[in-house]
């Protein structure tokens, strides 16, 4: 059978194997643009892949995008699949994407928590965390977005291994988090870090572990607001923009707080749509509109990062 990305059903939810097979197909279809970077293995020894979109150069400034760090947020992995294909198909066609990739690389991680994602398909659709064993507890996993070295163990995270927001025994204890941390540190030239969650229609910037404003708050708020204007232009989906602490809640150990603190100024987190009635169970017919509108917001942020080197 000839495998082609154009026969892939982007309007459906898929299991991990299918998504990984899609990634191989996409790479094979665009070998001079896309490569698959194995950043390590998960707790249960599944490979963790980021798609690297690059037109060449060494240690170019780069943008990181991840989806699916919370396993049950299925529309994020599904949207990331569509976005990967969109970046590939728009290169050489959309001047903005072409110009971006002429200057910067994009790393896109579609399934950031592969163990959790596999578990949502086989055992518990509502699983959020990693699947690591917690010593002394029958409850498994830690919340990988409470496990980063930014206010670790502070307010807005639980010390109870049975809680969905358990922060883990120490910062970077979850290998899925450590693999990303090592990649980001080792690369050393990321200019933007964007994490995609769902749901509730928010675009957030640091901080979450404290309600103190970041020094770049004004700029990040302006960028976020403009990005959401683009996103909203497609289907009129209403988003809020603000710091994690101010518009949702205080939450420690989050990824974009860590990236901001190590100098990645353009750090954002999306909470994609749920249409108000479905939460994590967004019907598959919502995948395409969600991905399409999210892409507009993402593309704005990426273009801004390209045009504002630091």
């Amino acid at each position: 059978l000839e495998r082609k990305t154009k026969s892939f059903n982007f309007a459906a939810y898929h299991n991990l194997e299918t998504i990984y097979a899609f990634m191989d197909t996409l790479v094979a279809s665009h070998p001079s643009l896309i490569s698959k970077v194995n950043i390590g293995s998960s707790y249960e020894n599944r490979p963790m892949y980021a798609l690297k979109f690059s037109t060449g150069g060494v240690s170019r400034p780069a943008i990181w995008v991840d989806a699916g760090i919370h396993a049950r947020e299925w529309v994020t992995q599904a949207s990331a699949v569509w976005i990967a294909n969109k970046i590939a198909s728009d290169y050489g066609v959309d001047p903005s994407v072409t110009s971006l990739l002429g200057q910067m690389d994009i790393y896109l991680m579609i399934v950031t928590n592969p163990d959790g994602y596999a578990f949502t398909h086989t055992s518990n659709r509502m699983w959020r965390k990693t699947r690591s064993v917690n010593a002394g507890s029958s409850c498994r996993g830690a919340d990988p977005n409470r496990n980063w070295d930014a206010g670790f163990g502070g307010p807005g995270a639980s010390k109870d291994p049975c809680s969905d927001s358990y922060h883990g025994p120490y910062a970077n204890s979850e290998v899925e988090v450590k693999n990303v941390v090592d990649l980001i540190k080792g690369h050393g030239n990321f200019k933007s870090f964007i994490s995609i969650h769902s749901y509730s229609q928010l675009l957030m910037y640091p901080y979450g572990y404290t309600c103190t404003d970041v020094p770049d708050k004004s700029e990040l708020h302006a960028v976020g607001t403009a990005a959401i204007k683009e996103l909203t232009s497609l289907y009129n989906t209403r988003y809020q923009v603000g710091s994690i602490c101010k518009i949702i809640y205080q939450a420690s150990g989050g990824s974009i707080d860590w990236t901001y603190n190590i100098g990645i100024k353009y750090s954002f987190a999306f909470e994609l749509r749920d249409t108000g009635f479905y939460g994590f169970l967004l019907p598959a017919n919502q995948i395409l509109p969600t991905a399409e509108e999210t892409w507009l917001g993402l593309k704005y942020i990426m273009g801004y990062v390209r045009d504002h080197p630091y």
Binding site: A12, R125, C162, D164, S200, Y249, F277, Y278, L281, A284
Partner: protein, 93 residues
């Protein structure tokens, strides 16, 4: 495989600090088996909570006793999951 027959997702609308405090205590009690879909509470935003079928009456009573407004967002979680699964099987075909 864990099933969610009869589980509901309630959209809770806290209106005061007392309401928020009550929800915080519930969230910290992992034995309650409530699945908070949103973490962190304010009077500005609703909180969606998946409530196991066996706890539904007790939890709704708790909300009513404390005058905490709520609506039913998802009436039966498993029905939605069954629809999702059927669609996936169809797509695989």
């Amino acid at each position: 495989e864990e099933l969610f027959n009869g589980d509901q997702v309630l959209r809770v609308l806290p209106e005061s600090e007392d309401h928020i405090q009550a929800l915080k205590e519930l969230e910290e009690d992992v034995d309650s088996e409530l699945d908070f879909w949103n973490h962190g509470f304010s009077t500005e935003r609703p909180v969606d909570i998946r409530v196991p079928h066996d706890s539904l009456y007790a939890f709704k009573d708790f909300l009513m006793e404390n005058n905490i407004p709520f609506t039913v967002m998802i009436n039966n979680v498993q029905e939605l999951l069954d629809e999702e699964r059927a669609e996936m099987v169809n797509n695989e075909g």
